[in-house]
């Protein structure tokens, strides 16, 4: 039993197992970064993904040298994998901020132990997503013309273009997510600084910690700022994917031009985002032995969110079809028919299976509590969401208004190289993060220890 003079010991409250104290929990998490050896599986994965990362940048060099013609894009399908990947990644980059901001505002305690790595996931995914629109340019070295600055040409960005909105939305999203993530890190960086064994680490973490001391007034302002950031990040979560969806919805292309897109994209984003959280959390807790902090409860909650969002996504699919036939617009109808029976129909049905069919398994508690099942499902959902992005981008374009201009998109080797390269890059970044920074917020876990103990009083 905890007393005023004895440091508290945690009890099992589902999202945190029993028997942890301030010290032990601090050391446990901090030492996964500071002293825990990587081990050969870690190294293997690291090197593999690093090779993939190099391949990604090699492909980029080739792209800049030769031009976007190395991809399968053409007229009419002028956008291909690059934009599909962009939307996919930006979607994945949503769960993080949603978890840390929205769940924080809602005072969801299960947020505490997953927000840190979810935010990191967000940063990396959004960062990679941000690369693709630039890679996809015909003249990428002029991407900065989207930035308003007084140039010698006296010309400005064209503000009516959703791509400009994109630019601002994503830049803001990245910045705010980064700030949010970093502010959350400061106390933990101080912990690492004070526990680091070597001067170099002390310097590195010390610089990053900005000399944080945990003074009461600092904590007060800190908490306030953090709350405000959460409040600001919340509308941003909605904004970003809404704007991304406007890239399509603002266009007049049948299959793009639909008002359902913003909510549809946001839901899809959370859907894929939480799937990715599962994909990462499951091996993470396993390899670092963090089952006490990332418990079955966490996985189950995430699974429930996936299940819920899968229904919103299903609704959006339905809405698209309904509006097509209800409006009777021959072009919209033609696109829907093409999705069902056309050249890309197999992708469409596979997508439905992954995004709508598979998640229904989560109705069963046994499935929700089976870690392997959750892992497989999360992977399938990610696959399905990628196929959805592909369909939105490609299948809409290849059958638009003028049958004389219809065409097909066939991915080339380079299209695949960029997709898998970006995935490798993402995993690599995540591994680096795991080795350098605490995957779970130490300060907040201490607080959780205290709360769980006091509940026992």
């Amino acid at each position: 039993m905890a007393s005023r003079t004895q440091p508290p010991v945690s009890r099992d409250i589902g999202v945190l197992k029993a028997g942890w104290r301030y010290a032990s929990i601090s050391d446990k998490i901090a030492d996964t970064v500071l002293s825990r050896p990587t081990g050969w599986p870690g190294w293997l994965l690291f090197l593999a993904t690093f090779a993939g990362t190099l391949a990604f940048f090699g492909a980029t060099a080739w792209l800049f040298a030769v031009g976007v013609g190395i991809w399968g894009v053409n007229i009419p399908v002028a956008w291909g994998y690059a934009i599909g990947n962009f939307v996919w990644w930006i979607g994945i980059g949503h769960a993080g901020t949603f978890i840390s901001a929205v769940l924080y505002l809602l005072r969801q305690r299960w947020r505490t132990s997953i927000n840190r790595f979810a935010e990191s996931m967000t940063l990396f995914a959004a960062g990679i997503a941000g690369l693709f629109p630039i890679l996809h340019l015909g003249r990428p070295w002029f991407f900065y013309w989207l930035i308003p600055y007084p140039d010698v040409m006296n010309v400005w960005p064209q503000w009516r273009s959703p791509l400009v909105w994109d630019f601002f939305a994503i830049a803001t999203y990245l910045t705010v997510s980064l700030l949010f993530w970093y502010v959350g890190l400061i106390p933990d960086l101080a912990t690492l600084r004070d526990r680091a064994a070597t001067p170099f680490k002390r310097y590195a973490y010390g610089l990053a910690a900005l000399g944080w001391r945990g003074e009461a007034r600092h904590w007060a302002r800190y908490e306030h700022a953090y709350l405000l950031l959460a409040g600001l990040a919340t509308p941003l979560v909605v904004l970003v994917h809404s704007v991304v969806s406007l890239d399509f919805a603002v266009g007049n292309t049948p299959g793009y031009h639909s008002t359902i897109f913003p909510p549809y994209f946001v839901a899809g984003a959370l859907f894929s985002g939480f799937a990715m959280v599962l994909t990462l959390a499951i091996p993470l807790r396993r390899f670092f032995g963090l089952e006490d902090f990332i418990t079955g409860k966490h996985l189950e909650y995430a699974a429930k969110v996936v299940l819920a969002t899968s229904w919103i996504v299903l609704y959006s699919y339905g809405a698209e079809i309904f509006t097509a036939f209800y409006s009777g617009d021959e072009f919209e109808v033609a696109i829907v028919m093409d999705r069902w029976t056309g050249a890309y129909a197999p992708v469409y049905w596979a997508m439905l299976a992954c995004n709508v069919g598979v998640p229904q398994l989560l109705w069963w508690r046994r499935v929700r509590r089976s870690v392997p099942a959750l892992f497989v499902i999360s992977l399938l959902v990610n696959l399905g969401m990628w196929m959805e992005r592909f369909l939105i981008v490609v299948s809409s374009l290849h059958h638009d208004f003028m049958p004389s201009a219809w065409g097909m998109f066939y991915p080339t080797f380079w299209d695949w190289a960029f997709l898998f390269g970006s995935i490798a890059f993402f995993v690599w970044l995540f591994l680096v993060f795991l080795r350098l920074l605490p995957a779970i917020s130490i300060a907040e876990m201490r607080l959780l220890v205290r709360e769980s103990a006091e509940e026992g009083r």
Partner: protein, 176 residues
Amino acid sequence: MSAALYGLLAEFPTADLLLAAARAARARGHALEAYSPFAVEGLDEAVGFTRNAMPLVTFLGGLLGGLGGYGLQWYSAVIDYPINVGGRPLDSWPAFIPATFALTILGAALAAVVGMLAANGLPRLRHPLFDIREFDLASRNRFFLCLRPGEAGLDLPAARTFLTEQGALAIWEAVE
């Protein structure tokens, strides 16, 4: 040692003890600082911290970002280089909203973070308390109270006894 006294630092095992000690010290009229490994509820009032400027700063930042953002778009599209783009009006305000919105949030967020750091006097890499080795535990599991010599100065023996009564595990003199 000629260096000026920074304060008298006491270590406590739990947040509750620190809280109590802080309140008592405040009652005795001490200028004080409290250090904890996580945000302890009520500790800020206990050390006499009341008005918090974060919301105002953030609001101003957002206002600046928003107005600046729309202003920039309007100026460049209507005043500086008016161009007929697809027959749309020069001031296509609905199309200017997304960027404006994003910039509002960006301004607010930057203001919040920068404001918070500035108000906290961070970054500050050196601090007298860091000279005390055990202070490292302030970021792990220990709670510290630091009595500062106010303009009145600090009666060291009295303060020591007071802190010990409050259940301090150890006491140090921190110097500038």
